[in-house]
Amino acid sequence: MSLIRTLLARRETLLLCAMLALLIGVTARFPEFATPASLANVFHDTSILIILALGQMAVILTKSIDLSVAANLAFTGMTVAMLNHAFPDLSILVLMGLALTMGLALGAINGLMVWRLNMPPIVVTLGTLTIYRGLAFVESGGAWVNAHEMSPAFLELPRAVVAGLPVLSWLAILAIGLSVLLFDRTPIGRAFFATGGNAVAAVYTGIDVGRTRFYAFCLSGMLAGLSGYLWVSRYAVAYVDVAGGFELNVIAACVIGGVSIAGGIGSVAGTVLGALFLGLIMNALPVIGVSPFWQMAISGAVIIAAVTINARAERSVGRNILRRKEIVL
């Protein structure tokens, strides 16, 4: 059992209850929403968000932020789509490996600037957010890669059903499993928590804080790259504005899941639940027949509500608020 997870047990329970309440509410009117098939579909729909949120979690744990994930996704997605168009015979596994490597490289650029040049992560990734999307435009000239320009293998892999679930869902499950190992069972995972929890103390413990942040950005970039392929394949189209603004959903999933923006606190379980919670809302609202305009406002309101509840849960621990009050004294 993970310690850091027990710490957050209450928050995760809360989130689970909120999801159940939502589910029951919707199912009361639309029973078909809670069928296993429909729920599996919600999970499938949320898979990319989960994968991205797990990478983002590493970054936020080290008290940084990666705003460039969606741009990285678009750039990498465009690149693999164009490669697939140009060389339809290139194996999908090679393309996936390429997506991972390219995402990793883009993440490493973020990480290097944070580590070596000591730049604030928010500035670095705001910059690369624009740059990566700009590069996607440069390489495509603004043109789209459409479904008929992609090879069948390219389109089919994420959807192929294995043991009852599509590969995309399995990839999310794999990412969750590996993340549990990474965050709870390896020294580098522990270093993510220590770096964000108290950077100075981490240095005194012999942890290289800059390098730890670099690794976090690499992880986030790598998963963004993978998601690039998954996204263009799933939606069967690649264009410059793919996943525009999606970085905010990713960060929201982390925050809803109890990852503290101040660093050092968070859990895989929480992050996954945070992402699923968002996914559930996005899927439930159209079912209840809420107009698309209201959908955005409602999901925004729910995010704020969830974050408020989280903040209150944190307050009852007494630590954060205490600090603030002592200052006022």
């Binding site: 850091i4 190992l181 069972r185 103390a201 005194y204 413990t205 600090r323 009050k325 004294l329």
Partner: protein, 513 residues
């Protein structure tokens, strides 16, 4: 047990207390930090509050200053019940405090830190900067702290920060002044300064609550005492009626005789040599040898550069010039991880900032520098981590509900034990302990000292920075005294007296022996 009952009145002839607390209880998840405690403070008098680490002292302070709300009980000021919903309310009612963990802002200036939240205003309601700096300077002058009001806090030493925290408490016109272990970071000179301030406050008719683990201090400045144990008040009265044994017995429930457990040292070869270590501003020309099995005391006034030297040895900062040899080989430590890899560890003085990761559980904090030992093929093994943490928690008498508890929920002294334990667990060649018993109660202090002797007996070389003369004299084989960044003397244990140490630390040094 012969403790006086809390209800027994020992102040019959006296005027009504300025502040009274009755039946105060406060629980945290899993712990009852205070149960039904009473305390009264009198104008013009100092009440000493003592108790083991985790007895509930700081929790009481926080209830008194509006940071925590007691679950039950009543606080009365001048006989009238009051409720402090916020820290501001407590301040408005005339209660001010120097907290054990002072929270100040690194990026703000000294004056801003002192007056944050109650800055003097001009008639238009803007901050009156001139008045603020003038008043801050006056307060600092009043406590003999030669600190500019315009420097940023991050440029100050720990002791100077502490003085700023004291100035902050005094910047409020309060009738009730609470000091939660104010002397823990200070050397005897600053302690003397602080005592003069206390005497002045006393003469001005303030009621003072003074928390300390050092009995000499308690007897010097306090008239009344109150003893807490496990969240209960187990005694209160006039200090004149009791002696140290009585208090210790109330505190611990048994007799603890603190003799320094200094064994007959088996001192071996030189393991660690420092040659002409110099830094442009902090220290100059520091040289010494450290031998296996030896405890080298490092004494000096606060600001003498002791911690800076240690931090350079640990690779946190870079010396300007000089050489360090480990086992005869030149050693360059560019980062703490280099030093740890070479077998040198440093237990920092400022444990809140440098030592503990408060959101992490006790067990992960303790195992953090030892993950190489507790993991197998790069995978952590929780069982090993728990075993390690349990061993050191027991040896240091750590008081916690569980090892999975976040370190931030421990009492100040228990947090220190976690940090000390985490470094002892690494089993290094050379260990540098910066104020190892700061803020630790007497029972646990004995445990830490015994541990040090044991490590030395196993052949470890120990450097112990300490501002407590009895500790320096009791534990060290040799003592290096620093003054204003230079070596002011290197003394053998034999024939060393407090006078010699103080003379070397303050000036008119006798030279080296």
């Amino acid at each position: 047990m012969n403790a006086m009952s809390p209800t027994q009145s020992v102040h019959t002839a006296e005027a009504q207390p300025l502040l009274e607390m009755v039946g105060i209880s406060k629980s945290f998840p899993g712990v009852k930090a205070l149960s039904d405690v009473a305390l009264s403070l009198r104008a013009g008098h100092v009440t000493a509050l003592i108790g083991e680490n985790g007895a509930g002292k700081s929790t009481l302070v926080k209830c008194l200053t509006g940071i925590y709300q007691p679950d039950s009980g009543e606080i009365r000021v001048d006989g009238k019940p009051v409720r402090f919903a916020t820290a501001d309310a407590a301040q408005a009612a005339g209660v001010t405090a120097i907290h054990q963990e002072t929270v100040l802002f690194d990026e703000l200036t000294v004056a801003e830190n002192i007056f944050l939240g109650h800055a003097p205003r001009t008639r238009l309601g803007f901050v009156d900067w001139a008045a603020m700096h003038a008043r801050a300077a006056a307060i600092l002058h009043g406590i003999d702290a030669p600190i500019s009001t315009r420097v940023r806090l991050k440029d100050l030493s720990i002791a100077q920060r502490h003085l700023v925290a004291i100035a902050r408490a005094l910047s409020v016109d309060a009738r009730i002044v609470i000091m939660d272990e104010p002397t823990a970071a200070l050397s005897y000179k600053e302690v003397e300064d602080l005592f003069r301030i206390v005497a002045r406050l006393k003469a001005a008719g303030k009621a003072i609550l003074f928390i300390s683990h050092k009995f000499e201090e308690v007897w010097r400045i306090a008239e009344y005492y109150a003893v807490f144990r496990d969240g209960r008040q187990v005694g209160a009265g006039l200090l004149a009626d009791v002696d140290q044994h009585d208090l210790v017995k109330m505190m611990v429930g048994r007799d603890v005789a603190h003799v320094f457990p200094k064994g007959e040292p088996k001192i071996g070869d030189t393991v660690f040599s420092v040659r002409k270590l110099s830094h442009p501003t902090e220290y100059d020309d520091i040289s010494f040898d450290l031998r296996r099995g030896e405890i080298l005391g490092l004494y000096g006034l606060v600001g003498a550069g002791r911690s800076e030297v240690c931090q350079a040895l640990f690779g946190v900062s870079r010396p300007g010039s000089g050489e360090v040899l480990l086992d005869g080989q030149p050693l360059v430590t560019r980062s703490p991880s280099d030093a740890i890899g070479a077998g040198i560890v440093y237990v920092p003085e400022e444990r809140g900032r440098h030592g503990a990761i408060t959101a992490m559980p006790i067990v992960s904090n303790m195992s953090l520098p030892s993950l190489r030992q507790t993991s197998r093929r790069n995978f952590l093994r929780m069982a090993e981590e728990f075993a390690l943490a349990r061993t050191y928690a027991e040896r240091l008498d750590l008081r916690a509900a569980s090892l999975s508890q976040p370190v931030g929920t421990l009492s100040g002294g228990n947090q220190q034990k976690v940090v000390i334990g985490k470094w002892l667990a690494t089993r290094p060649k050379v260990i540098i302990l910066d104020e190892p018993t700061k803020g630790i109660d007497i029972g646990s202090k004995a445990a830490v000292h015994a541990f040090m002797s044991e490590l030395a007996a196993e052949g470890l070389a120990v450097i112990m920075v300490s501002s407590e003369i009895p500790e320096v004299l009791g534990m060290s084989d040799r003592v290096l005294v620093m003054r204003e960044g230079r070596m002011a003397g290197l003394f053998d244990r034999q024939g060393l007296t407090p006078e010699i140490l103080v003379r070397a630390a303050t000036g008119n040094s006798e030279g080296r022996q």
